[in-house]
Symmetry: C2
Subunit: 319 residues, 2 copies
C-alpha cells in the first residue's frame, strides 16, 4: 500500500510514528512543509523536516517534541557571548550539526531534496521524506505594527518569539507562487493508494504544502481517497496555536470548520474526535464522509489506532 | 611604546602573553598569519588568529595550546555520525560558535579584518589583532605522491592529519601574490617603535606574513628596530615541527641558520637560547646583533623576561 502524508512538524511526526506502527509494510512518502524553514546564524534550518526525521529515526527529544534527545547548548551559549542572536530560537549542539551539514551541501549545489535524502541515510526514518519544494518558500505573518500599519514577521518569529500572542492578520507564503514541487512529489501523489492529512496545522503546515502550485491540484485529481484527521478537538487545537492562524484565514477553530476549509474537492474523508461527534452530520452535509473516533495521540498505540481508522475510512471511500 | 608583532599560533600567542606582562602599557599590534586558515564543514576557520585571541582573552585550552577551555565535542560527534569529515581536525562546540559567527559575517560582506575586530570585542585580548590580509592566502605543502609525482595538500592536512611525517618538498602560499596587506598593517609597521618576530615558525607563520606583497618591504624599510627570537633551541624546534618545513626551503634547523634565513635586511637583532651561545658570533658576523638568553616559554614570567630581553636588544640597536 502506497501512502502519501502531507506533514508539518510535531503533530505530523507523531502521527507518522503511529501510521508506521499500524501498517509496518506500507510504502510511505512524506511531503514535508518547508514554509517554516529559516536561516539562523548563516545556517539553513528546516524545523519540520528535522522533526519528522528525528522522530522516526529515534533521535527526537520526546517530551519537547522537537530537537534532539541528550542535547547540550555550548554553541548557543557562545553565540550569546558574542552577542549574536536570535536567542529565542533554541538550537542545540547536536541539532547544529544537522544544519551545518545541510548548509554545506546546499552551498555545494545540492537541492534540498537531495540534502534531505542524504541526512535520512543516517536516520533511516522508514519513510521517503520529500520537502514540498526545493525552492525557497517562507511563511510570513502580518501583525499590527505600533504605528497602526502592518508588518510582516517570519513565521518562526511569530510562533516562537511572540508565541502567537498578537493577532495574525494574514499568512503570506513568500515565494510560493514561483515554487515548484520537489522531484517525486507529484509522482508520489499520483501513484498513491491513500493520501492522508495528519492532525497538522491546516494553515501553516498542510496549507503551505497545498499552496505550492501543482500540489493542491494533484491531490484533488488523485485517484486515491484523501482522508484527514482534525487537529481541532473540542473547539481548541490539540497542541500548538492553530486557532491563531485559522482566525487569520477566517476559519473557526472547530473540527467541522477545518474540514469545510479543506473542502470536498480535496477531502474525501475526515475524522473528528469523539467529543466532536456532533460535527459529523455537518461535515457529511458538506460532502465529506466523516466519523468520530478518539483523536488524542497519547502514545504510539493510540496514534496507530487513529491511523488505522483513517485507512479504514479511506477504504470505505474507495468502495 | 608602539610594538608590532608578526605572530603565528601557539608560540606567537604565548610570547604575546609574556610581552603584555613585561610592558603592560605598550600599544601592541599583532599581525596574524592567515595562511593556515581552512574551510571546514562550510565554515571559515582561522586557527592562528583564534589561538592569539583565545590565549590573550583567557579562553584558551592551556595544556593543548589551541582551542577552548572546558570544551565539548557534540557537534563533531554528530558530523561523524553523518559521515561528514574531516575527522582529523578537532573542532569543539565552543570553537564552532566562533567559526559560525565569522562565516556569517563574511557571508554578509565584512572583510576578515572587520570580523576579527568584532570577535575581539568579546575577548578583549589587550592587543590590536589584524589578519595579515583580508584576501585568501592558503599555504599548501608539496609532498611525494605514490606514483612518484608531487601533490599539494593544505597546510593543515600536512600538519594535523599527516603530522609532518612525510618530507615537505616545497611550501606554496597559494594566492599570496595577489594578496594585499589588511587595512592598518602597513601603517602599524611604519609607525612602530619596535617590531618583533616571536619564536613562531619562520616558514609557515612569520614567513607567510612576510610573503604578502608589501609587508616584507615595509618591515625592511621601517624606522623601528626589528628583533626576533629563535624558535630553534639546540638544533630542534622548541615545539611543533618547524624543522620539516625549514628543510623544504633549504634552511638548517639551527638558531643561526634561521637568523641568516631572515637576513640582515630584515633583522636588526636576534635572540638565541643560552644553549646556542656558540651561534652568537656567527649571527653577528652576518650583520645581526645577537645575544644568548633563556628562550624556553615555561611560564608567563619566563616569557616576559624573554620579551624584555628582546626590547632591550631593540634599544641597543636603536642607540
Amino acid at each position: 500500500m502506497r501512502i502519501v502524508v502531507l506533514a508539518g512538524g510535531i503533530g505530523g511526526a507523531r502521527f507518522l510514528r503511529g501510521l508506521k506502527s499500524a501498517v509496518p509494510d506500507a510504502d510511505i512518502t512524506v511531503i514535508g512543509n518547508t514554509g517554516d524553514d529559516i536561516h539562523l546564524f548563516g545556517l539553513k534550518v528546516c524545523p519540520d523536516l528535522d522533526t519528522v526525521m528525528y522522530t522516526l529515526g529515534g533521535g527526537i527529544h520526546e517530551e519537547q517534541g522537537w530537537g534532539r534527545a541528550d542535547e547540550s547548548f555550548a554553541v548557543k551559549e557562545e553565540l550569546a557571548a558574542y552577542g549574536v542572536g536570535p536567542e529565542w530560537f533554541g538550537l542545540g549542539d547536536r541539532d547544529f550539526a544537522t544544519h551545518i551539514v545541510r548548509t554545506q551541501m546546499i552551498a555545494a549545489g545540492y537541492p534540498l531534496s537531495a540534502v534531505t535524502e542524504a541526512l535520512c541515510r543516517r536516520w533511516e526514518p522508514g519513510v521517503r521524506l520529500l520537502p514540498m519544494s526545493d525552492d525557497r518558500v517562507e511563511t510570513h505573518v502580518l501583525i499590527d505594527a505600533p504605528d497602526g500599519t502592518r508588518k510582516a514577521v517570519h513565521f518562526q518569529e511569530y510562533w516562537v518569539r511572540l508565541r502567537a500572542s498578537v493577532p495574525a492578520r494574514a499568512i503570506v507564503p513568500v515565494g510560493a507562487e514561483q515554487a515548484k514541487p520537489a522531484p517525486g512529489v507529484l509522482e508520489a501523489i499520483a501513484a498513491a493508494d491513500v493520501i492522508l492529512f495528519p492532525p497538522s496545522n491546516p494553515v501553516v503546515s498542510v496549507g503551505t504544502i497545498l499552496g505550492v502550485p501543482g500540489i493542491r491540484e494533484a491531490v484533488a485529481d488523485a485517484a486515491a481517497p484523501v482522508v484527514g484527521l482534525s487537529p481541532i478537538v473540542g473547539d481548541a487545537p490539540v497542541r500548538g496555536m492553530a486557532d491563531k492562524v485559522l482566525a487569520a484565514v477566517g476559519v473557526e477553530s472547530t473540527a467541522a470548520a477545518v474540514a469545510r476549509h479543506y473542502g470536498p474537492d480535496l477531502l474525501d474523508g475526515w475524522l473528528v474526535d469523539t467529543v466532536d461527534a456532533g460535527a459529523v452530520a455537518e461535515v457529511a452535509a458538506a460532502g465529506i464522509r466523516c466519523r468520530a473516533v478518539p483523536l488524542m495521540m497519547t502514545d504510539t498505540e493510540a496514534t496507530a489506532a487513529m491511523a488505522a481508522e483513517a485507512l479504514t475510512l479511506a477504504e470505505e471511500v474507495r468502495a
